[in-house]
Symmetry: C2
Subunit: 307 residues, 2 copies
Amino acid sequence: MMFPTILLAIDDAELSSELLSELSAFDDIKVCLPDDADANNAHMAACWHPDQALLTTFPNIQCLHSAAAGVDHLGKPLLKSGLPVARIVDPDQKQGMLEYVLWCVLNHHRDFDRALSHQSQQRWHLYPQVSASAVRVGVMGLGEIGGYVALGLAQFGYRLAGWSRSPKSIDGVDIFAGQSELVPFLERTDVLINLLPLNESTQGILNQSLFKTLPKGASIINAGRGGHLIESDLIDALKEGWLRRAILDVFTSEPLPVDHPLWTTEGVIVTPHMASSSAANVIAKQLRENVLRFNNGEPLLNKVEPF
Amino acid sequence: MMFPTILLAIDDAELSSELLSELSAFDDIKVCLPDDADANNAHMAACWHPDQALLTTFPNIQCLHSAAAGVDHLGKPLLKSGLPVARIVDPDQKQGMLEYVLWCVLNHHRDFDRALSHQSQQRWHLYPQVSASAVRVGVMGLGEIGGYVALGLAQFGYRLAGWSRSPKSIDGVDIFAGQSELVPFLERTDVLINLLPLNESTQGILNQSLFKTLPKGASIINAGRGGHLIESDLIDALKEGWLRRAILDVFTSEPLPVDHPLWTTEGVIVTPHMASSSAANVIAKQLRENVLRFNNGEPLLNKVEPF
């Protein structure tokens, strides 16, 4: 009998080793690394920033599986290879993202950012308390994670809008869809949260023109990808006082290099891509389920159309 | 006809002026300041840090009303005068406190405190993500506000315990009651939130012995009163690394003096008594309702027994 086999194409030593250990524990599948003798038997590759020569080196790969929620890290050639692409969908990861974003929204709404900055000057200053229902939060990207975050923030009392490529329906969230509704969405948004997937049409979307469409004093949160943001435009918008604050969890180069200006730009909070991740055992379980499905000719779970 | 009259004994110019304006708008009551000619007609005093000679100067006062949720600011002589004491109970204030405390709990749980501290060193370090259900939050004080906060945090997924003088019942919250259960409550608490009323039995309760009963690495949040905290004990517990962080919203002297060591103690976040307040129109509405009730011989709403 030929076991369904997963090739680990994971450019992260810790994650690779955790997945190897988790997947090895299943007795109905096999797992291998690129250097293993039987790597050529694999039909599915589990990917995190995989080698772009993957399909040349391993021509038997017939299916690509992201080891995360996003698929942009597979790179354009692989995403355009025509092979089916699936990804991880994890309720705990959605909750983790909501936790991250809620801290960020509260940080703006309840003036913790100002309190922290005043503390460094030993300055006591109280701002009038504002109701959550008066804070206009906007979520860009209403997929599995963005939709969950928008719903959770609305349930917590914020005035929510969401923007996505195609119209959605989420309780308590005003929906804006498509390029034509981006401007009205931004104009009504005090705290902007980016959770878009990164692709050709969203690359660099957080730019000067977007910032200037937000009301003066708005804050932005980027928990999507570093490629969504034009960093120099952000630094300018903060320096001139148009934006109040930016909380950034993702960067074009991670870890963010020690000498990168974002570390020290006033108004920027840098977090180390910590917003949300899936536990290795959760990823492994979904990889196993999909490799069994692929082997049996059944439809993959959580398949995506990246373009 | 003799109008029910409220005397404003409010040691806060802005609040006093707002309440004067709000209460003057009602046509079935009167409002006066201590210097007004008709101040002696008032039977009820609305108080915020009132003059301790209040009852000598105005012997017709028969009822004391806090202009806030707490009553400790009335001072012991007034609280022990035997006059009935009432206070403000405001749903928006409870929600404001939940918002404040949730930011503080997320700050510990999701390592934002560490991220902020690492940013100042341009250091990228990712901690493993922990589920909210693994974070043991403990709320001291389960009155109107504390009970609401404990329930809200439990609903958000945290592992909640609450401690109060007498047993309570709150969905999803393990209840500890009385002095004998304080130690087991503290021993299971990673993030301690103080929302107790300040009185003789709670004065100085946040002290070295309490800190040492918490597990090493715990954080504390004081949104009760400054008098609950022994500041030098806190500074010691942070300096020796027993406590991870303290978020303090209340102080024995407010505004916190510019040269106070808490401003600059590592691990302390100072916020300017901003956790939660009621809007003047909400306070005014409740004062009016109670002065009418008092005048009609009906029971006061939100009466408290301060000792």
